[in-house]
């Protein structure tokens, strides 16, 4: 009896310990996500297309497609100081591919496909006894400049540390963008023997970020940044679109770029104003395998504002990105596909065809695909108005223009076009918005005579019906 008494006592004490300890160790599972559907009609944008819209044919044909995207985010939170963050993506174009494995597939009859994409997998933890937060792993990568340099859906592997210091937050990050280990003979054009295998850790592209953001007052913030991009990956690949301007940064060049930035935002009475200036300098060592040793000297600037007018909000923005022989360095995918990993649409305003925008998923093409405009630079601006027609109905209308920053051979003008667009969104339920929108671009003389047989190409348009659900 003595033994069983002891056992019972220990068991009771143990049960008590577990019962009281459980809440402290309970893992919190957090799920969030996004589902988007869109059906589109356009005379230039076709299902699954990405990159710069090629405005060269007559383009009087209308193409239509329907696509869907689901993004699922799962966070395993041990406590407020430690969590694992993951994000996945499932994309499909209706009618495209089934019973085959790969991203963006499974939309054809039968559906079955393995098309789960990994977007984020990273650890998020606070360093004990400090205010330093660390995010380590594959995560979203964004600059502090509306994604003109890098961002707009970019994900990369690296470490990002941040810490508040009074009213200022400091961030320090390092990301490995590329580490190539092999090349294909067909694209080996830097003098290296064809088919050679590189050692890992040599043909790399790395990015260092240092950001400071200060909440100077309740209504004013300003920030400063230093970014360092080092590209030792001078080997061309089939994925590279290549800049139009020769001897500029972008694959296949070996370069170092230092980026200095200033940004600010302030509330001035009823208006909110923000803007930034980015200056770049550095050295382009080689271009396409040839020694170059040219100096990089470029910049980008943006100014935007919004103000309550009548029942809604009026918006205005202006943007300049340098081009030509001193083209602005932005970050693009250079090894897997010619995807843009930056976006100037956030700085330009709400557009549907001129630049990348949140409506684009796997079909992702725009007249200006990257902030550097393929080495040509951008002069752009927009005005817009947004209003709640009812508590559930939101209407938007925008006008925007864009031109290349530097004159191009073979083009009558720098002016690329003017976009007019409108959007009507209805909040059906909490989190679910359905809507329609459309955009029409009046092409500028940049495209004059570039249509079939020297004709002028037709003006691009797009109309979309969409549903977006966030939870």
């Amino acid at each position: 009896m003595k033994v069983s008494k002891k056992i019972l006592t220990i068991a009771a004490a143990g049960a008590l310990t577990v019962a009281t300890a459980l809440p402290a160790f309970a893992l919190e599972n957090e799920f969030h996500g996004f589902v988007g559907l869109r059906a589109a009609n356009s005379n230039y944008v076709t299902a699954g297309a990405f990159g710069q819209i090629p405005i060269t044919g007559d383009s009087k044909t209308t193409y239509n497609w329907i696509e869907q995207r689901a993004r699922l985010f799962y966070t395993a939170k041990a406590n407020d100081n430690l969590k694992l963050v993951t994000g996945f993506e499932l994309d499909s174009i209706w009618g495209k591919d089934s019973y085959t494995n790969g991203r963006n597939e499974g939309g054809a009859l039968g559906a079955d496909t393995v098309n789960l994409e990994t977007k984020w997998v990273y650890l998020d933890f606070n360093v004990p006894s400090t205010k330093v937060n660390v995010k380590a792993g594959i995560q979203g990568l964004n600059d502090a400049y509306k994604s003109v340099f890098v961002g707009g859906g970019a994900d990369a592997a690296g470490v990002l540390m941040s810490s508040p210091m009074g009213p200022t937050t400091l961030s320090l990050g390092w990301f490995r963008l590329d580490d190539r280990s092999a090349t294909a003979a067909a694209f080996n054009n830097n003098g290296t023997a064809a088919g050679v295998t590189f050692s890992n850790g040599k043909k790399t592209r790395d990015l260092l970020l240092l950001d400071a953001k200060c909440n100077a007052t309740k209504d004013m913030t300003f920030g400063a940044s230093y970014y360092f991009l080092n590209n030792d990956n001078s080997q061309a690949t089939s994925a590279q679109a290549g800049p139009l301007e020769p001897n500029t940064v972008g694959a296949p060049s070996d370069y170092t770029a230092h980026v200095l930035g200033l940004n600010a935002a302030a509330k001035l009475g009823p208006a909110t104003v923000d803007g930034f200036f980015l200056y770049e300098f550095g050295t382009i060592d080689t271009y396409n395998g040839n020694a170059l040793k040219s100096h990089l000297n470029s910049f980008a600037a943006n100014l935007a504002g919004k103000m309550a007018v009548g029942p809604g909000t009026a918006k205005v923005s202006a943007l300049y990105v340098n081009g030509g022989t001193n083209a602005f360095v932005d970050i693009n995918n250079e090894t897997s596909a010619a995807y843009s990993e930056n976006n100037f649409g956030n700085a330009l305003g709400d557009v549907l065809l001129l630049a990348r925008n949140p409506f684009l998923t796997q079909t992702e093409s725009a007249i200006i695909y990257d902030a550097g405009n393929n080495g040509m630079g951008v002069i752009g601006g927009s005005v817009g108005y947004e209003a709640n027609v009812t508590s559930k109905l939101v209407a938007k209308a925008n006008a925007a223009f864009a031109a290349v920053a530097k004159s191009q051979t073979g083009h009558d003008s720098k002016y690329q076009g003017t976009e007019l667009n409108a959007d009507l969104g209805y909040k059906m339920y909490d989190g679910l918005t359905v809507g329609v929108n459309g955009a029409y671009v009046v092409l500028g003389d940049f495209y004059k005579g570039l249509g079939t047989g020297g004709s002028d190409p037709a003006n691009p348009y797009i109309t979309q019906v969409y549903a977006k659900y966030v939870f």
Binding site: K5, L8, T9, A12, A13, A15, L16, A19, T20, P23, A26, E28, H32, G33, F34, G36, F50, R71, F73, K77, N79, D80, G87, G140, G152, G153, A154, P164, A337, Y339, N343, R356, N357, P358, F359, L360, T361, Q362, E364, D430, G431, K468, V470, F471
Partner: protein, 91 residues
């Protein structure tokens, strides 16, 4: 047996006290948003989470300390950033 009875009584009393404490604090501070505690019955969409955080921040220093408010603001920023990342375009 007396010992066992004593231990079980103590355990019962402690388990009875805990919810009362949680209820009392929940009236003023949202412990789930602030410390990720007592989240068992919380199922929020990202939109609801943002709205709740904004509501708690509005309570200000009457309910929360300056350190609590900083923490809530950081969580609001994180939730808004996640929402932006979810809906942003890109491959």
């Amino acid at each position: 047996m007396k010992k066992i009875a004593l231990l079980l009584t103590a355990a019962f009393l402690m388990s009875a006290v805990a919810p009362v404490y949680a209820q009392m604090t929940a009236e003023q501070k949202n412990q789930c948003l602030l410390e990720s505690k007592n989240c068992a019955n919380e199922v929020n969409s990202i939109g609801q989470k943002i709205k709740k955080l904004q509501k708690e921040i509005k309570k200000g220093k009457k309910v929360y300390s300056e350190e609590d408010l900083k923490k809530l603001n950081a969580k609001l920023k994180e939730a808004e950033s996640l929402l932006n990342s979810m809906t942003e375009g890109g491959q």
